[in-house]
């Protein structure tokens, strides 16, 4: 947007409304009600379009997105819905310089800078592509090696349990003959829990 002189906002809205009524090919009441007012100050050709085929289209698209013509690289045209949107490096916002004076410091982004297609995934709270302290393969090997080893050991522990030998509990007084309601006059059979 160019730097503007002070404008009377109500006047602008009224002018746009009047122009819409005269432009639109709807008739009568529907034109009055629906109107033709744009939600932003952007024109149709400053919005993303279809894949650029000629060098002039590429140059125009690069200018539209504020990128150098040599740097501009659209997504390959495979019908996946990208159009002429530029293919920016797959780097998250957490990789950007934390000490530079960004216009939007929490997003580490300047005003007018082209946003990555997956910008909302690459914000600092989400996916982080910054360099890791050790290489990725080494980290993967350590993590999955440890997890795999623990799983293996727990499985083997289930298969081959090893514990202190146990036996059924031994009760005194002939297996608690009287406490279990045995006849006090009768002589119970002897219960021996030992061997000599």
């Amino acid at each position: 947007m160019l730097p503007e002189q002070p404008v009377n906002m109500a006047g602008v809205v009224f002018r746009r409304w009047a122009r819409a009524l005269s432009n639109g090919n709807r008739s009568g009441i529907s034109a009055f009600l629906l109107g033709n007012r744009a939600a932003s100050g952007m024109t149709k050709d400053s919005l993303p379009g279809s894949y650029p085929k000629t060098p002039e289209e590429r140059a125009a698209a690069a200018k539209k997105y504020n990128i150098r013509v040599e740097d501009y690289e659209p997504y390959p045209d495979r019908g996946e819905g990208f159009g002429d949107y530029p293919k920016l490096p797959e780097r998250s916002q957490s990789e950007r310089d934390p000490w530079y004076q960004w216009d939007h410091p929490d997003l580490r982004r300047n005003w007018g800078e082209p946003m990555h297609w997956d910008f909302d995934a690459y914000i600092r709270n989400r996916v982080d592509t910054s360099p890791s302290p050790v290489s990725w393969s080494s980290m993967s090997k350590q993590l999955f090696g440890f997890i795999g080893f623990m799983l293996l050991m727990f499985y083997l522990g289930e298969k081959f349990p090893s514990y202190q030998p146990v036996a059924p509990k031994q009760y005194p007084y002939n297996d608690l003959y009287l406490e279990r309601g045995g006849d006090p006059d009768k002589q119970p059979e002897e219960v021996k829990h030992y061997e000599i």
Binding site: M1, S40, D71, R78, G81, W111, S135, W136
Partner: protein, 127 residues
Amino acid sequence: MADYREAPLASRPKSLDPNEYFNLSSDFRRAEEDRAAIRANLKRQYQLQLNNPLRKELIEDPALTQWVYARTNPYPHFRPTYKTSLLGAVFGVVPLFVMYYIFKTDRDRKEEQIKAGTFKRPFSLSS
């Protein structure tokens, strides 16, 4: 660290980037200067609007508008190719049938067990 290998989610640290030390060609420098010029121009536009004492409205970011527009209107640029129709089938159609099949067989098996009286309630606290 000499064997640091990059990965999709782990970029190369700046101190290990050979460009930092060996790339001194004037083409590279000129490219950097062009990029800096574009950046400075955008900064200037933003600062002028930001510090304008007579501004009453929000500063509109055209890059943001373009991004939102591109993300919400991919349909005109969609074309059915092998890849896109395969993706659509794998993520949109196959899960319906697969999940129907899985749930149906699981439920039927549970029903059989209940009818036969062999069903063991998981996490049952009352037994």
